[in-house]
Structure formats: structure tokens, C-alpha cells
């Protein structure tokens, strides 16, 4: 009977659940996301032209693995260039390989740049374009890219 139930349980994933989860072709994370995230957030906030970084991450099966939020930029900076650096920095995050990063840049509460300015059809960059733009995960950051 236990075998039946086990079969039942596993088959139930086929029938009714969110069976997503594992991520193939991906280097395994070496640091817990909760430990790595404050560090990458500090790195973003320390980028030239960035005044503040309000970022969060999700790392579960249903919501997916992603980083989102807003960076506040100083007036007069090249917003698109700084946002590009922000994405490159977030691609160095070691907690997991993000499936999607969505960060918008603001100056004084006004949106000044999104991923669309980096060539994305949306205001985020997904895993494959992130790899294409910043190299294999985890990336080396904006300095290496430059």
C-alpha cells in the first residue's frame, strides 16, 4: 500500500501541482541567498551615480528566482549606463542564478531608465539575455565587462 501511495504522490505532481523547481545547466549556488543578497545590494548602492538601492529577491518554486526593485540615481548621470552597471552587478549575485532581474532607475521619484533602454522588450532582463549580455552566471561585474 505504501508503494501505491508513493506512486500516487509522485504522479500527483503530474496532475495538479507546480512541479517546477530544479534548474539544469546551472552552476550550483555557493552561498545562501539570504546571506549573499545584502552584499550585492551594498555593491549596487556603492556604484558611481547610485544614491540608493531598494531591492528584493524571490527564491521559491512558485514565484521563481528573481531580483526586482528600484535604484535612485544622482541627477545628471548617464542613467542607462548606470542601470547597465546595476544589472551587471546583480548578475554577480551568488545566491542563485536569477531567472529574471527587473530594476528601474529613478531620479527624484521619476523613472529615467528601464531594461527597455538596454534593448529588452520589457522592463526586465531574463536569464538568457542576461547571459548574453553579461556572460555566464555568476558574472564578474561591470568592471570586468568594461
Amino acid at each position: 500500500m505504501r508503494s501505491t501511495l508513493a506512486g500516487v504522490l509522485t504522479a500527483s505532481l503530474l496532475l495538479a501541482g507546480c512541479a517546477g523547481g530544479g534548474r539544469a545547466e546551472t552552476p550550483q549556488p555557493t552561498v545562501a541567498a539570504s546571506e549573499a543578497f545584502p552584499e550585492v545590494q551594498r555593491d549596487v548602492a556603492a556604484l558611481p551615480g547610485v544614491l540608493d538601492a531598494d531591492l528584493t529577491y524571490t527564491d521559491d518554486v512558485t514565484r521563481g528566482y528573481g531580483i526586482s526593485g528600484t535604484v535612485t540615481l544622482a541627477e545628471g548621470v548617464d542613467a542607462v549606463q548606470v542601470l547597465d552597471d546595476v544589472y551587471a552587478t546583480l548578475w554577480t549575485f551568488q545566491g542563485f542564478e536569477p531567472a529574471l532581474i527587473r530594476v528601474v532607475a529613478e531620479v527624484d521619484g521619476v523613472q529615467v531608465a528601464t531594461a527597455q533602454d538596454l534593448g529588452s522588450p520589457t522592463d526586465g532582463l531574463a536569464q538568457v539575455p542576461l547571459r548574453e549580455r553579461y556572460g555566464p552566471w555568476p558574472g564578474a561585474g561591470p568592471t570586468a565587462r568594461a
Binding site: 500500500m1 506512486g7 504522479a11 500527483s12 507546480c18 530544479g22 549556488p29 524571490t58 521559491d60 536569464q127
Partner: protein, 544 residues
């Protein structure tokens, strides 16, 4: 389309054209009826008293006039013949539509029958293959790994054979004899919690367990890892496999359990689990019944309680992207238990309110029902099309928020949330109390729900996301049901990522910018809900 979206159903669909054709047939019919009535009236003119009286003065004119009237009424090009032609055209149009529809239905039925047959064969084959050693098992896995039901025994078998130790052998022996479940064997082998096994998938099992990688290296290979990666790669690159396996769920489960249920003590389970299942819903009900014998999947009841005393003014969704960003907000379990539910009140310019109810996806994966109703138990009951505790809690929250019986309601959900939305929208009792006008789902298997024509549905699905395919059939091609599919192979590279709420929000942004007729018709109809500002009523849903 240049945005990578493909659209099926909705106001711009072929089915809408079928419906238009039937409407045109009705018009032709009606005009035919009127013409026939006119022809009768015209023919009667030929016998009109005044005309006949005038004929005394000019018999030739009378004869000519009568001839023209009769010709106009009943002649070869007359009203009567025209009416018959119009009605014949109406019949032909209707017949054509029926033939098209019958052909579509026959194709769907044939496909499902084939899937059931294939599923049964695969289920039986899984047991046979388990006995012929690692090579055969690995080969079988190449075909069957997407089915978790097959993958678990395969991995245990592969692990046991490769390890070659007494412990693994004993576990394998226990699993084969039925004393131990395959999951239990795997769990013990790796010291892994069952929930992690369920949630994570095989690749994450490796990641979650320190030592598993070493263990795999120790024995000179990575068969289990390969199988996990292969499963994901295969599923991502060939999403139709999920369709086939889920579409043949009845057959698959019958085949898997036949050797167990038809022999020995297993036979005693037959009356309990309703075997063999005849339909998809029966198959899920059988799972529920079988799990119930172990105390699993007991849904019970649930309640909704306010998280804040007053609703808060906040930005609310202004499009499909915003809806899925909102789904992210409700997708994490509450720290002190339960699941978050948003009931968003959108005041209307002319008075009254429209309401958007954002329902969370799956958050708990234990087979034992937890305090959080956004769990595996609810998934199974929803797919069996049972009433669930979470549905009752949502209704309770709507009542507490003050949703009126005539207020328009949009139900939205990602994953399980979408299934719940579809279930509520197709529940006569619920729709008799609330005016559900719109449903938005993302990554949800909802094709089997009988949502009324009066409800506008938009289902967003990623081509590589296995979850919306779990019921094994495509969403209905109906004028009120728009299914938008996006190929995300250029965005992510595994099925887990393809299911993420964030990626659905990104796809929602593309939907918002779409010029497809069905999409724009849906968005136009949904404007009252998408004001971008509203009052958010926060609730906690808890199972009791």
C-alpha cells in the same frame, strides 16, 4: 506576432467566426421568413378587389399586372424562391459550422484516447523496466523521466545499483517488495526530507543535500544528476511530453498501479479508490482516495481573517503585467501561518465598485493538509473539481470586504491561484452570489473547467512551463476565452524558471502592448478593474 506571443480563442478567434457564421445564418433565416411572408402578401395582391375591379376597365393591364405580381411573389426569381434560397444558405452555413466543430471535437477525443492508451502502456512499462537493470532503466528514463512517477523508482534503482552497498541494496529490496515506498527509499538514501523531494525536483535534491554530489562522484558517475537534468532539459525542449502524460493520466495511473492493485493485499484498495479511473477527474479522485487511507489530502474547512483593520489605498494593477506583479505580492506564505489574499476595491467613476480578487499559488507541498490552504491538498481537490476550503475562505473574504451581488468581479491567480479562480467562476453556487465577469490566469491548468460564456477569460501560459499543461488538453477555443502563449526559450532555460511569477509579469507586459484583436477586446472589457489605484483589503486564509 513580433512580440513572441501567440493567441488562441477570444473575440478575434476562429470560434468567434463560427459564432458569427451561426449568427449570420440566423439573420438569413429571419430574412427568408420575412420574404416568404411578403411573397404571400404579394401573391394576395393579385386577387385584390380593387385591382380586379380596375381590370374591368382594362383587362389587358389586369392580366399584365397580375402576371408581374405572381412572378414577383412566386416566380423563378420571386420572393418565395429567394426566401427558400436564403433559408437553404442558412442551413448550409449552420451545417458547415457543425461539421467544423464536430471535426475539432473528434480530433480532441481521438487525441485523448491515444494519450490514455500510451499512458497505460507507460505505466505498466515503468514496472517492467525497473527490473531489468541500470542500462534499461536509464534508457527508460530518457523516455519517461518527465513523469515524476517514473523518475523516483528509476533514481532509486540507479542509485542502488551504482552504490552497490548493503544499505542501498536493502532499500531497493524494500522498495521492490512494497515494504518501503520509492520516495521513502530515496529519502533514506539521501537523508532527505520528503517535502524537499517533492518540491525541489531532482536537480534541487542534489543542490539541497551536502554530500550527494560527493556520493555521486564517489561512484564514478552522475546518473541520478543526469536523469534530473535530462528530465528538465527534455521537458523544457519538448513541452508536449507533459501534455501527453497528463492527457493520458487515467491510463498512466491505471498502468502504474495495476500490478499493485490487482494482486494480493492491494486488491482490498480497489473499492476504496474507485479503480480504474475513467476520466481525468476520476484519476485525481483516486489519488485523493488512496492518499486518504494514509491520512493525506484532508481539506477540511478554512476561514479568512482581516490582516488590517481598514483597507489601504494603494497602486492596483493597471494591466496584465500589474496583475502578475500583484500575484507576486500574495505568493509568499505569511510568516505566522496561512496564505495572503488580496481583495482590491476599484471605485468606479459613476459610483459603485469593481473588485479584483488575487488568489495565491501553491505555497506548501506536504501531502498532509497544513494550516495554509495554498497547498498540495488544495491542488488535488481543485483538479478533481471538488469544492475546496480555500474557495470557501475566498468567498468569506469577499463577503467581509463588502463585495455586492451585482458588483463586477475579476478573479486572478497564478498557478494554483488560477485553478481556484477558474473553479470559482465555474461554480454555479458562487456565481449566483457574485457577478464574476472576468478571470485572469497565469501558468494554471484550467482547460477542464466549464467557465460560463458570460465570463471573459484570459489565460497566459509559457510554452515551456509544464504546469499549465498538467491537465493534458488545450484551453477551449471559445470567443470568451483568450489564451496567450509565449515561447520563453529565449528568456530562460529550464521549466522551473518558465513557471515563475516574475516571468509571467514580464509576459504580461507584452500582453498589455499586444495589438491582437482578442487581447485588445479582453483588455477593453477589463478596463473597470485596471484603474491603477484602489483599496486593498488584506486577508489571511487559514485551514482549520
Amino acid at each position: 506576432m513580433g512580440d513572441g506571443l501567440s493567441v488562441r480563442g477570444g473575440a478575434g478567434s476562429l470560434v468567434a467566426e463560427y459564432e458569427d457564421m451561426v449568427q449570420v445564418a440566423g439573420v438569413l433565416d429571419g430574412v427568408g421568413d420575412e420574404l416568404r411572408a411578403l411573397s404571400g402578401a404579394a401573391a394576395a395582391c393579385a386577387g385584390d378587389g380593387d385591382l380586379l375591379a380596375g381590370g374591368v376597365l382594362s383587362p389587358g393591364t389586369l392580366a399584365a399586372a397580375t402576371g408581374h405580381i405572381v412572378a414577383a411573389a412566386t416566380g423563378p426569381n420571386g420572393l418565395l424562391v429567394l426566401s427558400v434560397r436564403l433559408e437553404a444558405n442558412a442551413v448550409w452555413v449552420r451545417a458547415t459550422v457543425h461539421v467544423y466543430e464536430a471535426f475539432d471535437a473528434a480530433q480532441a477525443a481521438a487525441l485523448e484516447a491515444m494519450q490514455d492508451f500510451a499512458g497505460f502502456g507507460l505505466g505498466l512499462a515503468a514496472w517492467g523496466l525497473a527490473g531489468v537493470g541500470l542500462v534499461a532503466v536509464t534508457g527508460a528514463a530518457a523516455v519517461a523521466v518527465p513523469a515524476a512517477a517514473v523518475a523516483a523508482p528509476v533514481v532509486v534503482m540507479a542509485a542502488a545499483v551504482r552504490r552497490g552497498g548493503l544499505e542501498a541494496g536493502a532499500l531497493l529490496s524494500g522498495a521492490l517488495s512494497g515494504e518501503l515506498s520509492w520516495q521513502e527509499a530515496l529519502v533514506r538514501l539521501h537523508g532527505l526530507r520528503r517535502e524537499q523531494l517533492i518540491v525541489g525536483g531532482l536537480q534541487d535534491v542534489q543542490a539541497a543535500l551536502p554530500g550527494v554530489g560527493d556520493w555521486l562522484s564517489e561512484f564514478g558517475g552522475d546518473v541520478a544528476g543526469d536523469l534530473g537534468a535530462m528530465a528538465q532539459d527534455t521537458l523544457f525542449e519538448h513541452p508536449w511530453i507533459t501534455d501527453t502524460l497528463a492527457g493520458g493520466a487515467e491510463g498512466l495511473l491505471t498502468g502504474l498501479a495495476a500490478p499493485l492493485l490487482m494482486t494480493g493485499p492491494g486488491r482490498r484498495l480497489l473499492p476504496l479508490v474507485g479503480w480504474p479511473p475513467a476520466t481525468y477527474e476520476d484519476a485525481v479522485a483516486s489519488l485523493l482516495a488512496a492518499g486518504g487511507t494514509a491520512g493525506w489530502f484532508r481539506d477540511g474547512s478554512a476561514r479568512a481573517t482581516q490582516l488590517t483593520a481598514e483597507p489601504r489605498e494603494a497602486a492596483s494593477p493597471d494591466g496584465i503585467r500589474g496583475i502578475f506583479l500583484g500575484q507576486q505580492d500574495v505568493s509568499a506564505p505569511l510568516r505566522d501561518g496561512g496564505a495572503r489574499l488580496h481583495v482590491i476595491e476599484v471605485p468606479q467613476p459613476g459610483g459603485g465598485s469593481a473588485w479584483m480578487v488575487q488568489i495565491p499559488g501553491t505555497q506548501e507541498w506536504s501531502p498532509e493538509a497544513s494550516a495554509n490552504p495554498a497547498d498540495l491538498t488544495t491542488n488535488l481537490h481543485l483538479m478533481a473539481q471538488n469544492q475546496t476550503a480555500s474557495m470557501a475562505a475566498i468567498e468569506s473574504a469577499m463577503r467581509q470586504a463588502g463585495v455586492g451581488a451585482d458588483d463586477p468581479v475579476m478573479l486572478t491567480g497564478h498557478s494554483q491561484g488560477g485553478i481556484t479562480a477558474a473553479s470559482l467562476a465555474s461554480d454555479d453556487r458562487f456565481t449566483s452570489r457574485y457577478s464574476v465577469t472576468h478571470v485572469v490566469t497565469g501558468g494554471s491548468p484550467v482547460a477542464r473547467f466549464d467557465i460560463p460564456d458570460s465570463v471573459q477569460v484570459l489565460s497566459l501560459e509559457h510554452h515551456q512551463d509544464p504546469v499549465p499543461r498538467l491537465e493534458g488538453q488545450a484551453n477551449p477555443d471559445r470567443s470568451n476565452w483568450t489564451t496567450v502563449t509565449r515561447d520563453v526559450s529565449g528568456s530562460v532555460s529550464d521549466p522551473g524558471a518558465a513557471h515563475g511569477t516574475g516571468l509571467y509579469a514580464e509576459s504580461g507586459q507584452l500582453v498589455d502592448g499586444s495589438s491582437d484583436a482578442s487581447v485588445t477586446a479582453f483588455l477593453d472589457s477589463a478596463r473597470p478593474f485596471l484603474a491603477g489605484q484602489g483599496l486593498v483589503h488584506d486577508y489571511r486564509m487559514e485551514r482549520r
